[in-house]
Amino acid sequence: MDLQRDTEHTLLADSAERMLSENYDFSARHGSPADQGDDAAWADDMWRQFAELGWLALPFAEEDGGLGAGMVEISILTEAFGRNMVVEPYITTVVLCGGLVAAIGTPEQRAETLPAIGEGALRIAFMGGAAGDISVDAAPSGDGYVLSGARKSVIDAPMAGRLLVPARIGEGIGVFMIDCDATGVTLRPHRTLDGGRAADVELTGVNVGRAQMLGGLEDASDAIEAAIDRTIAALSADAVGAMAKLVEETVEYTKTREQFGKPISKFQVLAHRLVDMKVSEEEARAVTTLAVLSADAPASKRRRAVSSAKSKVGRCARFVGQNAIQTHGAIGTTADLTIGSYAKRLMVYEASYGSTARHAELYAAIIADPDTAGAGLLLSPAA
């Protein structure tokens, strides 16, 4: 048992925070709502820097051209992304899609994909949502399959060269890797609530060969679920970063804004609300650590930790987002302050890969067994 960051962790956290707070211009990256720009080009320069820093190769094995880091390192990075409102497609490309290829790809698929991701030459979006939420069918055809289906708001798709498509094959779910410009693929790009990019994607009779099916598996459900759980752990750390920033900015604001002849932080009802926000942030951080440290555990343990975290972080996120706005007064409701953007980022967190309510339900099903409910995190009676 050890929850201390080691020197390398601290170095990574510090360098990520320094690089992003110095170089990452939030308003330039998010653009004005009217600016529809070239989505792919828009991501390139920052992405190259991420590659140079080794961030894009962080979790991959050395034989796949990676640095062999784990979820702890990923979460340190994504927490910094949350603090600085990074909208680059890191989590989808590296954690989710890269992670899935690393987990079940054939040696050829890994060799062809992972080094390219690590070098910044390839970005991949995921045409699926929460585990089990599948919107594409794969019909056998000759040596391969034909994919058809549609999905709204495929996050990061406009910035990606490829899509990973989870698709129903009979009872199973296979994962196919296709090019975004393959015949039969239509992308309708749009902006997302938090300043990112997504596309409504339609697949009409897209022909794929068996070589495009990850690991040659006709049922990769377990691996998909695991990859999504890792994604949720990384996103939760991102949400913690956003919450930390919201709490800091709100505390700062109450110390400078004066009404009735004194800083509003001196009103006890606000002081206690700020404390509750800080406590929520710390709670979110604690349960995110649980998800991060359980991301590679056996499925039962991992599922419990991740749905516990997603449901709890979601509640904390909503509380912090709402109260950051309330505590700022009218200015808090405008698009002029970054707190509004952080609140939006937290709304996206809540809606992604299974809502707060959905994960509360998944978690309820797990702890409906009293033995599981009674098992502590450090030691369970059965351990």
Binding site: D2, L3, V275, V287, S308, S311, R315, G376, L378, A383
Partner: protein, 395 residues
């Protein structure tokens, strides 16, 4: 970073569990299940404490010099966790977790030799005389007066909410020895025997039906000055030091876990597992529990590596007390109209002779009522918020 215990700690947990399984009587487990007060009766704890004492485990956080087992922070945590989860009673935390550490730090050799061994063995039972009718959260306003007279103090005044004063033979108290200067600088920390002439104890019955706390009146009570801990008028520093030992995370975590598992079973048994309200509350409270356990473990990891956990104890107090209440509230909701039947006698385990599921139902409403105290005692949650606001947010 990881959540895995070292092999020797896993073995230690196994040893603790085996000991408890082999030695904790079923009657005691039942009594703990039917305990409705926020602390179990001292008599129940004393029997268990004696067994632990024989094993050398009665004062887990003490150094071996004074009869402690010399455990690491992780071992202490495991011991508390396993004890609480198994439903082992507690005994006299006011002695072993409060006044004991204070004596080790501030006490004279004479005081240490006089008091520590009988805290370790459990022969002495201590109570805490801080609160007064006019002094609760604002403790420094306390008025109970001690006037020096030869080798003694003569004490007059009143304490209130004194838990188990009626079952204690010793008290540590804060008394006023000066009204000059800052209020905090006129307070003295004193140890006294409860059988001294002039002390009167009056019970206060809680809304949950239990007799736990009391009023304690002092009427010209002559207390030897040799019972003073630290210097005269420096008692506030002693009291502040003591506060650091009120944390006790693992005991809470283990107990709340066990109670939560029981409520989940109750929910299932009563066919409420698909009730939308109950189910969502169950999930929320479960996730809250996971969360706070992680905060506990982080504090433990800090202690283990020599880092300072910082001002986190106020957060632990705030959240754990609320979660305990939420668990008791979930039980209340699950029990429905079965809470209507009220058994006035206490302790319930002596009053009842019913099948287990029926008698457990009778504890739910009293426990819900008594547990309202968690967010009040030991510094209310509003006061904890004041502390966090100042120390953590600089408000």
């Amino acid at each position: 970073m990881d959540l895995n215990l070292a092999p020797e700690d896993v073995a230690f947990a196994e040893e603790v569990r085996t000991f408890i399984d082999a030695n904790l009587p079923d009657a005691t487990r039942r009594a703990m299940t039917l305990t409705t007060a926020f602390l179990n009766e001292p008599e129940l704890g004393y029997e268990w404490h004696k067994l632990l004492h024989k094993k050398g485990w009665s004062v887990p956080s003490w150094p071996d010099e004074w009869g402690g087992p010399g455990w690491t922070p992780v071992q202490k945590y495991i011991f508390d966790l396993e004890s609480a989860r198994a439903g082992a009673p507690v005994y006299n935390g006011q002695g072993s977790r409060m006044v004991g550490p204070v004596l080790m730090h501030f006490g004279t050799d004479e005081q240490k030799n006089k008091y520590l061994p009988s805290i370790c063995s459990g022969e002495d039972h201590w109570c805490q005389g801080y609160s007064e009718p006019g002094s609760g959260s604002d403790l420094a306003s306390l008025k109970t007066k001690a006037v020096a007279d030869g080798d003694d103090y003569i004490i007059n005044g009143q304490k209130i909410w004194t838990s188990f004063a009626h079952k204690s033979n010793c008290m540590f108290a804060l008394v006023r020895t000066s009204t000059e200067g800052k209020r905090q600088e006129g307070i003295t920390f004193i140890l006294l025997d409860m059988d001294l002439p002039g002390i009167t104890i009056r019970p206060i019955i809680g809304n949950g039906g239990d007799h736990e706390f009391n009023e304690v009146f002092f009427d010209d009570v002559r207390v030897p000055q040799s019972g003073r801990v630290g210097e005269e008028n420096k008692g506030w520093d002693v009291a502040k030091y003591l506060l650091e030992f009120e944390r006790g995370g693992a005991l809470v975590a283990g107990r709340v876990r066990a109670q939560f598992a029981k409520v989940v079973r109750l929910i299932r048994d009563r066919g409420l597992i698909d009730d939308a309200h109950i189910r969502i509350r169950m999930a929320e409270i479960g996730a809250d529990l996971d969360t706070m356990e992680m905060v506990d473990i982080r504090v433990l990891s800090d202690l283990q590596s020599g880092a300072n956990p910082g001002a986190i104890s106020s957060m632990l107090k705030m959240r754990w007390s609320s979660i305990r209440q939420e668990v008791s509230e979930l039980a209340l909701d699950a029990a429905g109209e079965d809470i209507l039947k009220w058994e006035p006698e206490r302790p319930l385990y002596d009053a009842l002779q019913l099948p287990p599921d029926e008698e457990e139902l009778l504890g739910i409403a009293p426990r819900y009522l008594n547990f309202r105290a968690y967010t009040i005692l030991g510094g209310t949650n509003e006061i904890q918020a004041e502390i966090l606001g100042k120390r953590v947010l600089g408000l």
